[in-house]
């Protein structure tokens, strides 16, 4: 899967500090087109921060992040244009509470002038169908269950036709019986060949869907490889310790 020509995200010597606190110390990783990468690790290991640095929702302190050839920290690029091609799904869904489902899906395509209203609406319906919620177009976020909200959030990102999807603990805030429906949508996306970076605690899902698992701790990538290698046969002491506790 990995070769030099189709690197989608290139990260080298990435550092991120909050004041004196060093959250990311030295992250180096390349993610290829169509690859599904799951990032695992204990709380506070920096995995969410790392994900948020990839579309500069979090400003980076040092190092470089290159997405599709764009140095996202460069003053020359228009970060909004880059973000249009990077979908992001949040732990707490972050659906726009003042808009209904259809408006949530249409907002970005129309406002960024990718589409006119009719096109955006047609596409929104198509994406809602994809996540199985075409009957919820007129509902407001407060009327949806957690699982439905997260599926709408995924559909909203897909409406921008992204090349990359970032998932920040997409199932952590869900009731257990709703985790499956969200993971199914993600599974379908992976099968469609979407490049995905997923921060998750769903180890079963990681084993099933990930092309690569990255284990982070203390602001570093400790170990990476296939799910087989990292989850079932970890080499580093901290990785072994972590999976002993969670498996």
């Amino acid at each position: 899967m990995k070769n030099e020509n189709n690197v989608k995200i290139h990260v080298s010597h990435l550092k991120k500090n909050y004041g004196k606190l060093e959250v990311l110390k030295d992250i180096n990783v390349d993610i290829c087109e169509g690859e599904v990468v799951v990032i695992l690790g204990p709380s506070g290991s920096g995995k969410s921060t790392f994900l948020r640095c990839l579309n500069r929702i979090e400003a980076i302190t040092a190092g470089e992040v290159v997405v599709d050839g764009n140095h996202i920290d460069s003053k020359k690029i228009d970060i909004n244009k880059v973000r249009e091609k990077i979908g992001m799904v949040f732990q707490h869904f972050n659906l726009f509470n003042n808009l209904n489902v259809m408006q949530n899906l249409m907002l970005a395509p129309v406002e960024t002038k990718q589409m006119n209203k009719e096109q955006a609406k047609a596409q929104a319906l198509q994406m809602l169908k994809k996540v199985g919620l075409e009957d919820k177009a007129d509902a407001y976020p407060s009327q949806l269950s957690g699982g439905q909200k997260q599926r709408v959030a995924i559909a909203r990102s897909l409406c921008m036709n992204p090349d990359i999807m970032l998932f920040d603990e997409p199932t952590s805030a869900l009731d257990p019986e709703m985790v499956g429906e969200v993971l199914q949508v993600m599974r379908d996306l992976a099968a469609d060949g979407m490049t995905m970076v997923i921060v998750s605690h769903e180890i079963g899902f990681a084993r099933e869907v990930a092309d690569r698992v990255i284990f982070m701790d203390g602001g570093y990538i400790i170990e990476e490889g296939t799910p087989q290698e990292v989850i079932l046969n970890p080499k580093e002491a901290r990785t072994i310790d972590f999976f002993n506790k969670v498996l």
Binding site: R83, E84, M88, N94, L107, A108, Y140
Partner: protein, 223 residues
Amino acid sequence: MTGLITEYGKLLLEAMGQTLIMALYSLLFACIVGLFFGMLSVLKNKPCNWIAQIFVDVIRGVPMIVLAFFVYFGIPYAFKSIFDIRFTIEPLQAGIICLSLNCGAYMAEIIRAGIQSVDIGQMEAARSLGLTYWKSMRKIVLPQAIKTMIPSIINQFIITLKDTSILSVIGFPELVNTAKSVISITHDSFKVWIIVGVMYLIVITILSKVAKILERKLNHDEK
């Protein structure tokens, strides 16, 4: 009482009209002042935050009567003595300036708090989709912030309406000032102040009711 009302009722009503004119202009400008400084205080830019903070602190820290004297007497005097430019400010203009600044400072705080009450995730989600800061603010954050701000804004409007009475000190013929003139003729301060009190009460009660309806309607729209 009836004699007082038939004789001076029209005068007092006109004075109420003046009070309302001053209050409405002040509220309009206060919204602009408040929005401007409120936005300055939420921007991710320290100097902007400082400017907003200083403005709010200064206005909050100075009694409005001092501000009124300063604008009405102090500023024309300063221009006369420093630049030898002679001009006067009309009491209405001075009053509107004072009330706009005063109400604007409190509005800035209401707007800042309202914006900050909207979950940061709303802005992050909008930005992650490629929307600019201002578009995200306008389409997502402000509409949600306004809903939480409305009760405080209405409260501030009522306070501003009452604060017009302070401007009687610079001679603007609003309700309190006019009442004083009426008393100087009739010497009946008991009845005149009751009438004036009831007039304020009626106008403010109507305003509060309208505000409640508006508030309910807005909340209902975006269930």
